[in-house]
Every structure is written in structure tokens, then in C-alpha cells.
Symmetry: C2
Subunit: 154 residues, 2 copies
């Protein structure tokens, strides 16, 4: 008996392994990022803003826009206005550098450190809740495969 499609469903060629993995990857990232974004929203931070704060916490001497852009986990073509919003809330401070007056150094402030501190444990909990059931071994296998994905042509 030949395979039959569900009603109203046009059968198409089987998806390639590449396409299947690609879709799984996007879908999974979206699914897992959502609860974290929800958590961040309780303190009115977008994932990108949170990412910037964590980057700046790691470099208390301050970083230029370009350096921040390089370290972002997600590409962002408008660091300026991202920093604008954080500065308006006094979570960070900005200033021109003394030597090269083209560059602007962004630094995290006490307010930013406080917000981050209040999020550290909840974020860790969320990660564990979302991925802890995989166990260390599979998590490392996953990390390895993802690194291999990023080593492709593009």
C-alpha cells in the first residue's frame, strides 16, 4: 500500500538532513529563548540589553561600540541606540575616550550591576530547567556539534 498524505496536505519530497537540522535549530533556539526573554522582561530588559550588560560586567574598564558588537551573542547593527536605552535608565555610562576622541567607551554602572546580580540566580535556574535534563554528556556533545555548525562556509 502506497504512503498516503493527510487530507488537504500536499506531499513533497522528503526534506534533506541539512534542512531538517536547520529547521530544528531555529525552532529550538526560539523555543528555549522565550522563557528567558520572559524572565528578563520582569526587569524590562530585552535579551540584547541583557547581553550588553553581561559583556560590560566582564570588562569594567569599558568597551567601545565595536568591541561590544563583536562580543554580542546575536548580531546587532545598532549598538548606539541599544546603549542609549541603557544609559537613559542609568544602567551604564558613556564617555569619549581621552586619546582617540572618535571612540566612545561604555561602562556598566552600579544600577546595571544590581540588575544583573538580581538576575544571576534566576537565569541559572532557567537554564537548568530548560536543559538540565540532558545531562552533562549530551550537553557537551550538543555544544560540539553546534561549534561544528558554525565552522561551515558562511
Amino acid at each position: 500500500m502506497k504512503p498516503t498524505a493527510a487530507p488537504g496536505r500536499t506531499p513533497r519530497r522528503a526534506p534533506s538532513a541539512e534542512e531538517a537540522a536547520y529547521l530544528d535549530l531555529i525552532r529550538t533556539a526560539d523555543l528555549l529563548s522565550r522563557p528567558v526573554a520572559q524572565l528578563l522582561k520582569t526587569v524590562d530588559l530585552s535579551p540584547a540589553q541583557y547581553n550588553v550588560l553581561r559583556i560590560l560586567r566582564g570588562s569594567p574598564d569599558g568597551l567601545t561600540c565595536g568591541e561590544i558588537a563583536n562580543r554580542m551573542i546575536t548580531r546587532d547593527p545598532d549598538i548606539t541606540r541599544l546603549l542609549d536605552r541603557l544609559e537613559k535608565r542609568r544602567l551604564i555610562a558613556r564617555g569619549r575616550d581621552g586619546k582617540d576622541r572618535r571612540v566612545v567607551l561604555a561602562r556598566i554602572g552600579p544600577g546595571g550591576l544590581d540588575v544583573l546580580a538580581s538576575l544571576d540566580q534566576p537565569v541559572r535556574d532557567a537554564h537548568r530547567r530548560l536543559l538540565g535534563h540532558l545531562g552533562e554528556e549530551r550537553l557537551r556533545a550538543l555544544a560540539g556539534l553546534l561549534a561544528a555548525c558554525r565552522g561551515g562556509e558562511d
Copy 2:
């Protein structure tokens, strides 16, 4: 000799395996989705719009907003305006259902099918270019791990 941090870099506790995998996942999804989004932009489609068209191609009898939302690879809380834009370009058509006049059925049109047809090969090529170097075995392992990720608490 005790481990020393890079200049200006505040050392922090080693990230948990969950956090590392989480960040890798988000980063990788962003990185891989970008070239595809670029390709779609050549025909003025966003990834979400492309996703809707593919979903509708699979169901020529039409689907309700709710059904479309369920099948989206990425969650979208505003299917209405997504469809608005596609309808304005005559890639899809919409109409109220006869029986239950609350529901709106969206159907793909000839224009939408044409755009999709023009994209099928380039999209396949992009997937292969991005992920083909992994090989079938690792791709399947990846798909399995991603499925396990989605089977978590949330």
C-alpha cells in the same frame, strides 16, 4: 601559579554546561539564519513570511490563523498583519469561512507559488552550504539532541 585573567577582564565562575549549550544554541541559530534571511530579502520576504508561504503551500485548501500560528517554526503573536502584507502583494488570498464565520482561511495564490518555486533551489543550496560539511551522521545526531532539548520542562 594561579590562573590570571586578561587585562580589564573580571574573572567569573566557569559557566555551567547548560549555560554554555544555551548560548551556543542561540548564537548558532542567529549565525545560520542570517544568510538565509539575506537570500529571502532578494525577493522581499522576511523569514516569517517565507515560513507562512511554505506552510500554505503544504495545505492548498487553506488554513486558519490559528493553524498557521501553530505550525510556524518561530512563534509569532501577530499572524494577522503578517498575512496582511502577503495579501497586499497578492501572494496569498483570504476569505471568511462559510460555516463558522469567525474563522478566516488563508490560501496561497499563484504569485506565492511562483516566489516559492524560485526559492526552492537557492534555499536548498544555502542549507547545504551551511550544514553540508557536517555529514548525514552528525546532522542526525544534532537533530536528535535538539529534539531532546525541546522535550524539557518548558
